[in-house]
């Protein structure tokens, strides 16, 4: 057990499924993480109020004092990734020159998009532009300019920066593990800093923290998410809201996710992700067609243009002269949220990106998802703005009252709302399943010591534990407290991200440098060179055919 630390260059190839009862895990990481998680859940339920206050304080202090650091970090990471995209390392393949991708481009893209954005986009696509339209520190609320700024700010929060952070972590992990033979695990990101010590207790600690943070991140999102699903279902069907229904929902979602994780990446997670993206595309198309189609098409171009023109300005804006505190609750919160999620999403992206070149990787992880996000946010956000600005209104109020319900309020403004609302519920649930199964997969890989095809028993264990944690926190309380705790890991990881830029650049330079071919010592004796005239008249000609 726990012998997976040896570099293994072929480790990303699918190996035959291991037997069911074979539990090949990293003992310290697996058992200590599991124990810590159970302990934490118990402590949180018992000392709810206390735990919640501590992390809330930590989170708001971090935003207040380290906001500038987050803004620096995300911008540096974005510039760094763009440099890699255009630079000379673009042709390096993750996994070596002969590696070939494991998944089709569509399957790959579906998986990383489902893991990376998922559920938040569904609710905030409607809600966020409405919030900024109703109030933002840059313009007067409710004006045309406010609508423009609202979309711009939403694009900033969901656009290039988060995907650049994911690309950065994903690329580092993939490069150091597939090309340099280190284990596929979060500790690998620290190799340039710690060297061989990543195999010791320091590395174990990092992996344990990553496991705990990922599990709580995914479980609390699941717990909070089902409350939103329940609110939506109640609004549509009037079934009421109760912990009982929510626990049943968790059980269903966990059940499907467990099935998907056990089936493995290709048969389970990829298929579900593709189905999920298919449904989401259908919903978006539907909303665009029945909604204000022309307005949305106009807006897409204008929003992207406005975003690109104002990107340097808005992304470095720091509230210095306004002295407001708006940014702490929005931009800084998002930056620390994305950074806190990045080990999990980055690790998943790394796992599925074997065989892509760095240029393909960045195009696929930075630019394509950003464009899809823009399309999505424009369809939902601008439709909401349209209703608010030129139609009956009421969305802004719905958003302030209840974010998940606002999506359904929006859909009700258009024909066939029963159909679209049902489709929306399906999309929400499949998004939950895909983020839940990719979360479990990441934890499985970490706790098996970096094995990209972790043992089935461990997959079963973590997938079920995730659901169990979500359900106990839901019933016992403490979902928000633990979620805040997860987000506070953003600050230390922001510093790690900056170190990663440096380390990755150095690693790539070393890797891409030409390697001299030379021979060692030999025994020789001197010979005089015989003067011999050049071959007569051949002048290089040869007859070989």
């Amino acid at each position: 057990m726990g012998k997976n630390q040896e570099p293994d260059k072929t480790n990303a190839k699918s190996s035959p499924e291991e037997s069911w009862f074979h539990l090949d895990v990293h003992p310290q990481v697996f058992f200590i993480s599991a124990a810590l998680i159970i302990l934490f859940v118990a402590a949180t339920i018992v000392f709810q109020q206390y735990v919640g206050d501590i992390f809330q304080q930590m989170q708001s202090r971090t935003s207040e004092y380290a906001g500038w650091l987050f803004i620096w970090t995300v911008n540096i990471v974005l510039v760094f990734i763009l440099v890699l995209l255009a630079g000379r390392f673009g042709d390096i393949r993750l996994g070596g020159p002969d590696a070939r991708p494991e998944f089709t481009t569509l399957g790959w893209f579906s998986m990383l998009f489902s893991a990376g954005m998922g559920i938040g986009l569904l609710f905030y696509g409607v809600a966020e532009p409405m919030f900024h339209y109703a109030a933002n520190p840059l313009t007067e609320a409710g004006t045309t300019e406010a609508a423009r700024k609202a979309m711009d700010i939403t694009f900033l929060h969901w656009g290039l920066h988060p995907w650049a952070i994911y690309s950065m972590v994903g690329l580092s992990l993939a490069f150091f593990s597939f090309n340099k033979g280190l284990p596929l695990s979060i500790r690998t990101a620290f190799y340039p800093l710690l060297g061989e010590r990543i195999y010791g207790w320091a590395g174990n600690t990092i992996d344990i923290l990553a496991t705990v943070a990922t599990l709580f991140g995914v479980a609390t999102s699941l717990g909070l998410g089902v409350q939103q699903v329940n609110a939506g279902l109640d609004y549509l069907l009037g079934i009421g809201q109760s912990p009982m229904i929510q626990v049943i929902l968790i059980a269903c979602i966990t059940g499907v996710a467990t099935w998907s994780v056990i089936k493995g990446l290709d048969k389970g997670i990829r298929r579900l992700s593709e189905i999920n993206i298919g449904f989401a595309a259908l919903l978006a198309l539907f909303v665009m067609l029945v909604g204000p189609t022309l307005f949305v098409m106009d807006a897409l171009l204008e929003n992207i243009g406005y975003y690109l023109q104002h990107l340097p300005q808005l992304s470095t804006w720091n509230e210095t002269y306004e002295q407001t505190e708006w940014q702490q609750g929005w931009t800084i919160f998002y930056w620390s949220w994305w950074i806190a999620w990045s080990p999990f999403v980055g690790m998943f992206i790394a796992r599925v990106s074997y065989g892509r070149s760095i240029r393909q990787f960045i195009l696929g992880v930075l630019l394509v998802p950003t464009m899809v996000t823009f399309l999505w946010v424009t369809i939902f956000g601008n439709t909401a703005l349209f209703i608010e600005m030129f139609g009956g209104g009421g969305i802004a109020r719905a958003v302030q009252e209840n974010i998940p319900v606002s999506l359904f309020v929006l859909l009700e403004n258009f024909p066939l709302s029963v159909l679209t609302s049902s489709l929306a519920i399906i999309v929400i649930i499949t998004f939950f399943v895909t983020s839940s199964d990719s979360g479990s997969m990441v934890i499985d890989i970490i706790t098996s010591g970096g094995n990209p095809n972790p043992p089935v028993l461990s997959r079963l264990f973590w997938a079920i534990l995730e659901g169990a944690v979500a359900a106990s926190l839901l019933v016992g309380g403490g979902l928000v407290a633990l979620q805040t705790a997860t987000i506070t890991t953003g600050l230390p990881f922001a510093i790690v991200l900056l170190g990663m830029c440096f380390a990755l650049y150095r690693g790539l330079s070393e890797y891409a440098a030409p390697k001299e071919i030379r021979i060692g010592d030999r025994d020789t004796r001197e010979f005089r060179i015989k003067s011999k005239p050049p071959l007569d008249k051949t002048f290089g000609r040869r007859r070989l055919w």
Binding site: P97, P514, E516, E526, P534, G540, R542, L544
Partner: protein, 225 residues
């Protein structure tokens, strides 16, 4: 990129000598292909059973003298030879440590026509100029010779000494061919021409696809990485 390729292969391309009693005579270029001490060259350079020797260029920095009265070459033996395709596989007689990166053998099938290539050989060895020259060209055509040998035509004028040199893909820095010599159109289709016709001079040269060398290496039970 050419600088990187020169840096990588400058130690791999070697002068090929034929031993004649206590003297050696220059015949062309050979290059290292495997860390067990294997080299590849053009088979037509090896005319008789004379002992063969190779010599890497001395490590120099800056401008250097190019002549020499005597040299200290390394003995090699012929392991495999394919006269049809004009490829020979040589091996150091003594055990010599070779440091070599993985993935130096390219995939000729995937190299598109028009691709940039470089060749690194000793064109003027017959004139006592013992320095290698790197030249750049493009793949002008990929053709089959009369005996079905896969051949790259490229647009640089190679000289006698460059025969047996590696043809390197500039895109990924891997070896895709073994330089054979100048391309003579009359010789490809001799049956269609009058023998007495004056040879034309082209600046097109040819190289035999490295696949044919890989086959010889496989016959030797070498693993190609």
């Amino acid at each position: 990129m050419l600088q990187d390729i020169y840096y990588q292969y400058k130690g791999a391309a070697m002068m090929l000598f034929r031993r004649e009693k206590d003297e050696v005579a220059f015949c062309g270029t050979a290059f290292l292909v495997h860390s067990d001490g294997y080299l590849v060259t053009a088979a037509h350079l090896i005319a008789d059973r004379a002992e063969l020797m190779v010599l890497p260029m001395e490590e120099v920095s800056g401008f250097a003298t190019v002549g020499a009265e005597s040299v200290a070459p390394i003995s090699v033996e012929i392991r495999r030879i394919d006269r049809q395709c004009d490829i020979a596989l040589l091996k150091f007689v003594q055990e010599i440590e070779v440091s070599m990166p993985e993935h130096i053998m390219g995939i000729p099938e995937e190299v598109p026509t028009g691709n940039s290539v470089a060749c690194l050989g000793f064109p003027f060895g017959h004139y006592h100029i013992y320095t290698h020259l790197i030249t750049q060209a493009v793949v002008s055509a990929k053709i089959l010779s009369g005996n079905e040998t896969r051949i790259f035509l490229f647009d640089t004028m190679v000289h006698d000494g460059t025969r047996g040199a590696p043809l390197i893909n500039l895109y990924d820095g891997r070896i895709i061919g073994v330089v054979g010599g100048r391309f003579e159109p009359q010789e490809l289709m001799p049956q269609k021409l009058d023998r007495s016709e004056t040879p034309i001079r082209t600046n097109i040269s040819y190289a035999v696809s490295i696949d044919h060398a890989s086959k010889l290496m496989e016959d030797e039970a070498l693993t190609i990485v």
